[in-house]
């Protein structure tokens, strides 16, 4: 088996496991990590927004359907990569390779950064109370940025008070594994193209 097929195979298996497992790729934890009172988890396959361990926001069926689409596409993409790398004797096997394990995590990072910078900034601009109550929402949501979410109580309770809640915004192990799988896939694709040119 060629070197690039081994890389594709490893990449496909890792991405298949990640796709089947589901769960969050990015998460925001408010309070103690072991017992958070606020939890937001997001991935191409799932969204969770919990307060006090109870679901605060249930995504609409449209979004649940899109998550299922994404998951099916990831599973199909992984299976075709695995099949392409195992069926090395078939001339058409290379037609099964794709870059889905690389594209998904990269698009996910872009989506997270755009979501935080543009959408939250727009919300703060057009709904001023959001900016007044949560002045550092952007920083708190940005991965590995601020460790506190400040809540200014004056606009809602008319008490001259503010609360600072410990937050943790991070990409999860599943995300890093997906990105690793994507990079393997990209390397495999580069090697394959180079070998094809020879």
């Amino acid at each position: 088996m060629e070197k690039f097929r081994i890389l594709y195979l490893i990449s496909g298996i890792i991405f298949l496991i990640i796709s089947i497992a589901g769960g969050a790729w990015w998460e925001l934890i408010g309070g103690e990590v072991s017992k958070p009172f606020l939890y937001i988890g997001f991935s191409p396959f799932d969204f969770k927004f919990e307060i006090l361990g109870l679901e605060f926001l249930k995504p609409p069926p449209l979004i649940i359907g899109l998550f299922l689409c994404e998951r099916l596409l990831a599973i199909i993409g992984s299976i075709t990569i695995i099949a392409g790398s195992l069926l090395y004797k078939k001339t058409w096997s290379q037609r099964l390779f794709n870059l889905r394990p690389f594209i998904m995590p990269v698009l996910f990072i872009v989506l997270i950064l755009i979501g935080i910078t543009i959408i939250i900034s727009s919300a703060q601009q057009y709904i001023p109370i959001v900016a007044e109550v949560l002045p550092n929402l952007n920083d708190a949501l940005m991965p590995y940025s601020s460790q506190y979410l400040t809540i200014n109580l004056y606009p809602i309770l008319y008490i001259d008070a503010s609360l600072k809640i410990k937050t943790l915004s991070q990409f999860t192990f599943k995300f890093w594994m997906a990105l690793f799988s994507g990079l393997l896939c990209l390397v495999a694709s580069t090697i394959r193209r180079k070998e094809a040119k020879k």
């Binding site: 009172f37 609409p60 069926p61 649940i64 199909i76 037609r95 001259d160 008070a161």
Partner: protein
């Protein structure tokens, strides 16, 4: 195997994988608004929690080794179980030049409709304890800042806080 078939079968499966879930969720959601609108379920604890439902019934103090132990009797008139796990704060009364630290001695939980005595260590750095007691009894404004872990029913919420012109509820 036909190469064209090998290429087209995954493409066809991909198209089905996009259309089928959306079609399924659209028809099971009942209407277009149900299909696109998220559902909000705010926790009842937050909606029904009123901080002013915790009232101070009485405050007295004892002195030991130059430290003051405040004995605060609290009453919970709300519907939620409320308590504190940790409290470490600085209290200042600018008008009376009082400055000190307060530290909760032991965690407590107040059930709905329950009274309890809470012990708080008060380390006075400026001013006199008598002046502070008068201020607390009058309900005069004080500044508070520090760390607290609030217990609300079954959950604990740790946070830093800073309150200006706070009046203790009486």
């Amino acid at each position: 195997m036909n190469e064209r078939l090998i290429v087209w079968v995954p493409r066809l499966i991909t198209i089905i994988a996009i259309i089928a879930p959306l079609t399924f969720y659209y028809f099971t959601s009942g209407s277009l608004s149900n299909f696109i609108m998220p559902v909000l379920n705010p926790p009842q604890e937050f909606i029904s929690f009123d901080p002013s439902s915790i009232r101070i019934i009485s405050i007295n103090y004892t002195t030991t080794d130059g430290r003051y132990l405040l004995n605060v009797e609290l009453f919970n008139s709300g519907n939620n179980k409320v308590g504190l796990n940790k409290l470490y704060a600085r209290i200042t009364v600018p008008s009376s030049n009082i400055d000190g630290k307060i530290i909760l001695q032991a965690p407590f939980i107040l059930e709905s409709g329950e009274k309890e005595s809470v012990h708080i260590l008060f380390l006075l750095e400026k001013g006199s304890i008598e002046d502070l007691m008068i201020i607390l009894e009058k309900g005069s404004p004080v500044n508070l800042s520090g760390n607290v872990t609030l217990i609300l029913n079954s959950i604990e919420i740790p946070f830093e806080f800073s309150i200006s012109n706070f009046r203790f509820p009486k």
